[in-house]
């Protein structure tokens, strides 16, 4: 049973999109996240740094051949925070009854 906990850090629209994407992956490439969400490199870097500082995301930098590659993954701490946030959102919707349902 997951305890609901609304997470302000995750709830910000851009970060919600990033964390939601990462939550369904083991890891995701920086470019994939950037293109999927439609952010600039600098905007994504800033958001990932915020999430990394909170301990929600781990950023890995490496090379594929000679090309630098950056990838990100949700930490177990971040995954737990996300799961609790989702449950909190579901509770808010449930409290409103059937009048508001996720599309």
């Amino acid at each position: 049973m997951i305890k609901p906990k609304f997470d302000e850090l995750i709830h910000a629209p851009t970060r919600l999109s990033i964390v939601s994407l990462l939550a369904a992956t083991e890891w995701a490439d920086f470019k994939f996240i950037r293109d999927s969400i439609g952010l600039s490199d600098s905007a994504l870097s800033k958001q990932l740094t915020t999430l990394e500082d909170a301990g929600y995301v781990e950023i890995r930098k490496g090379f594929v051949g000679k090309r630098p590659r950056t990838s990100a993954r949700l930490t177990s701490f971040g995954r737990a925070a996300f799961d609790r946030h989702v449950v909190a959102l579901q509770e808010i919707v449930a409290r409103a009854g059937a009048s508001v349902l996720p599309r």
Binding site: L16, S20, A24, E26, L89, V100
Partner: protein, 160 residues
């Protein structure tokens, strides 16, 4: 803060979460061209083997290996270059569905080939492989559709 969030806002956030999950699930879906390409390679290889001509078999083997490497390589690179979907997205039902699909192909093609061989029909293996190819082309995309639905229903990427 949670009290300040309107229900429609929360519903919108849940929709966004589901949308991003669907984006990742789409990565795992094998495209239709894969089934066609694999079926054509298999049938071509089988025909070549049943000609029993060493030169034809040699060329076909090389073409088959290169073809399979290109087809699967394209598929793997498409995913590896972007993201690795969560390992538990499929769940046991999905894994069973994949095994069932493979078992179904074998259950159709092997008995057909052996029965045709026993009946003295020419190119029995090719006939069996052709049948397997048809099953792959028809049922492969259906399997992918089923797995996609399963992965989305599985609430992967969120609390189970």
């Amino acid at each position: 803060m949670a009290n300040e969030v309107r229900p429609d806002e929360a519903a919108g956030a849940l929709t966004e979460i589901a949308r991003r999950r669907a984006q990742v699930v789409t990565l795992t879906i094998i495209p239709t061209w894969f089934w066609w390409a694999t079926a054509v390679l298999m049938v071509g290889f089988s025909v070549a083997v049943e000609t029993r001509r060493p030169l034809v078999i040699g060329i076909a083997t090389a073409a088959f290996v290169i073809g399979i490497l290109i087809v699967t390589g394209r598929l793997v690179l498409a995913v590896v270059g972007r993201a690795q979907p969560r390992n538990d997205l499929l769940g046991p039902t999905g894994v069973l569905a994949i095994f069932g699909f493979v078992a179904g192909i074998l259950a159709v093609s092997l008995p057909t080939s052996f029965a045709l061989k026993a009946a003295g029909v020419r190119y029995p293996a090719t006939a069996g492989i052709l049948l397997a190819g048809v099953v792959m082309v028809v049922c492969g995309p259906l399997l992918m559709r089923y797995l996609r639905r399963l992965m989305l229903d599985h609430r992967a990427g969120g609390p189970q």
